[in-house]
């Protein structure tokens, strides 16, 4: 290993930059097409597994925009996800709008929550933001558990709406929707990373005071990241009530969401858009296999252990391993 480490510059000529963005859109389109073609020939189980993994792609990618790029750790992903869920539940009780409207409303609500929490706490040290997000999740869970209109502690049943003949089953529709959302999330992360926002966030992450001295408006950028991150998490939660048909606070605020949204980007790699993607696919698949064979608690335990192992042994995640191999290899 040489003493000097060379990096690929982050600002190459524009055309090459666009390639990865186009690749994301293309991949998303191919997946959607594949899902539509395969249709109901594949058992429902695979759709549900795919849905879960795609959901984690969104959550991990969203978390990483503020966490990996900016260095501000959100412990309350479940809170934002649940706000998305319960926005759908709330709207479902009042009207029966299409899911797209639910998702937009969820994005707006969760995004505002991100902005508000950020505004209150992002001027302080990162650790206080983290604790605030944790406390926020706990308080939200209390509020929702006491709110009988959305089912309170006992939970609520959501009836899946009728679907047109284009999709075989509702699960089919949900998966296609999630592919679209995951593509948007990854594209958003890619766009943030390559833009001036990403450069600013990287400077903030490395040394916030020095960044300010270089003209980086740190609060503004952190708020943009927090709002985008929150909105995406809310959007991920919006279809969830239709996916599970029965929602209660314990499921919406589940510990699995909190730990996975942190573990997946950290295992995959936090500095770039494809890290959380790789981490979500890896850990998501592992968990889908394990949940069948062992208990869900043991499953989560393994995720926690993997998180700690990667943090100590491979802190740059899979991204770091791949980059180091590329440098030291042929």
């Amino acid at each position: 290993m040489s003493a000097q480490t060379t990096f690929e510059p982050r600002s190459p000529p524009v055309p090459a930059q666009l390639y990865s963005g186009l690749a994301i859109v293309l991949a998303g389109a191919i997946l959607v097409a594949a899902a539509l073609l395969v249709g109901s020939r594949v058992s429902e189980y695979y759709y549900l597994a795919a849905y879960t993994i795609l959901q984690f792609v969104v959550l991990g990618t969203a978390w990483n925009i503020l966490g990996g790029y900016g260095g501000y750790v959100n412990f309350g992903t479940a809170g934002f996800f649940a706000v998305g869920c319960y926005t759908t539940v709330f709207l479902n009780k009042l009207f029966h709008w299409p899911l797209i409207i639910d998702m937009s409303a969820a994005a707006a609500t969760a995004g505002l929550m991100g902005l508000g929490t950020g505004y209150l706490t992002l001027r302080l040290r990162g650790v206080f933001f983290s604790i605030a997000t944790l406390a926020l999740a706990i308080v939200l869970q209390t509020v929702i558990s006491n709110w009988s209109f959305v089912g309170g502690g006992r939970g609520v049943y959501i009836v899946r709406p009728q679907i047109s003949g284009f999709f075989g089953t509702y699960a089919h529709l949900l998966v296609v929707l999630m592919i679209g959302l995951a593509t948007c999330a990854v594209l958003a992360a890619w766009a943030v990373e390559k833009s001036w926002i990403g450069v600013g966030l990287a400077a903030i992450r490395d040394n916030e005071t020095a960044a300010e001295t270089c003209g980086v408006p740190s609060l503004r950028l952190k708020l943009i990241a927090a709002t985008t991150s929150g909105a995406l998490m809310g959007m991920a939660g919006a279809p969830f009530p239709y996916y599970v048909s029965y929602v209660d606070p314990a499921t919406a605020f589940s510990l699995a969401i909190a730990v996975n949204s942190i573990a997946m980007p950290l295992v995959g790699g936090t500095t770039t858009w494809w890290g959380p993607l790789v981490g979500a696919i890896m850990l998501g698949s592992v968990q889908q296999i394990l949940t069948v064979t062992i208990s869900s608690a043991a499953n989560l335990f393994i995720v926690g252990v993997l998180l700690v192992v990667f943090l100590t042994a491979a802190p740059r995640g899979v991204v770091g391993i791949v980059r180091a191999w590329k440098r030291g290899g042929p």
């Binding site: 260095g71 604790i131 406390a135 926020l136 706990i138 558990s145 942190i262 208990s295 943090l311």
Partner: protein, 291 residues
């Protein structure tokens, strides 16, 4: 909402007594976060682990909880020192990103909580001892020994730690490290060893606090998470590195929570610590006794 002076006074006294217990939970965070700048959000998990150790001692060996403290606190000291050594080796030395450190402690918190679920399930566990059933009364006010013992132990624990830090050489080195790590090196002392011992003491205090917790109420693994907000709110309100500050802040939180529980119901008590933390950070970030 039934207002009466008796209710108010009882709530106040209960709050103070609860606050004494909270101090035992928070002192570890004051040391780890306030003095050593280590964001150990897994501290409450160590606490719950201590509670489960007490249950193990009581269930399998008929340990009185106070005996459990004498047995398990030293183990906590040793474990804490080893744990810090590992943390220092893998994270502090790197010096790079606090993101990794925070995520690490979250991972540890998670592993301990889920580990306890795997070992002991989600049922509540509790311990008893004959004297805990008694009640302690002055006039209209009555407090059960279930609450008084943690209150008293909490006070003794804080006093003990304060004495240790101000009277012994290692203790004073720890205080010096909390103010200026470089200066400590310049006088020839080893800041890493001082931090190691401090972390060990903090972990031992977590074990003790956990045992006190299981004296007060039955525990199950997820209770630890409630204490993250409480302990950090107390640490900040107290002024980060101040032990008298920790005590006063604990009493304030105890009273605030008890009033909220009495007049608005128990499910809102997690919000109290969150609110207190936000208010402190907004109005007086240095806390009550901060530098």
């Amino acid at each position: 909402m039934n207002f009466s002076w008796d209710l108010l006074v009882n709530a106040f006294v209960t709050g103070v007594v609860l606050g004494g217990f909270y101090a035992s939970a928070a002192i570890g965070v004051t040391i780890e976060f306030g003095m050593l700048d280590i964001v150990n959000i897994a501290h409450p998990a160590f606490m719950i682990a201590g509670a489960y150790l007490a249950y193990l001692g009581w269930n399998s060996f008929a340990f009185d909880p106070l005996v459990a403290m004498a047995v398990f606190a030293p183990l906590g000291l040793l474990f804490g020192r080893a744990f810090y050594r590992a943390y220092h080796f893998f994270f502090e030395r790197r010096g790079d990103e606090s993101l990794q450190g925070l995520a690490f402690f979250f991972g540890v918190l998670f592993i301990i909580e889920i580990g306890l679920v795997l070992i002991s399930g989600v049922d509540y566990r509790s311990v008893t001892a004959p004297y805990l059933g008694w009640t302690f009364g002055i006039g209209h006010i009555s407090v059960s020994w279930r609450m008084m013992v943690p209150f008293l132990v909490g006070l003794v624990l804080l006093a003990g730690i304060q004495l240790y830090l101000s009277r012994t050489f290692t203790g004073r080195t720890i205080l010096a490290v909390s103010q200026d790590v470089e200066a400590v090196r310049l006088i020839g002392a080893d800041p890493v060893r001082a931090k190691e011992i401090a972390f060990g003491i903090a972990t031992a205090s977590a074990i003790i606090a956990g045992i006190l917790l299981i004296i007060i109420q039955p525990v199950e693994p997820s209770i630890g998470r409630e204490y993250i907000g409480r302990t950090f709110a107390i640490c900040v309100l107290g002024g980060m590195a101040s032990i008298p500050g920790t005590l006063i802040a604990s009493l304030i939180l105890g009273v605030a929570e008890t009033f909220t529980t009495t007049f608005f119901g128990p499910s809102w008590s997690p919000a109290v610590s969150f609110g207190l933390l936000l208010i402190t950070l907004a109005l007086r970030p240095a806390g009550l006794f901060g530098r």
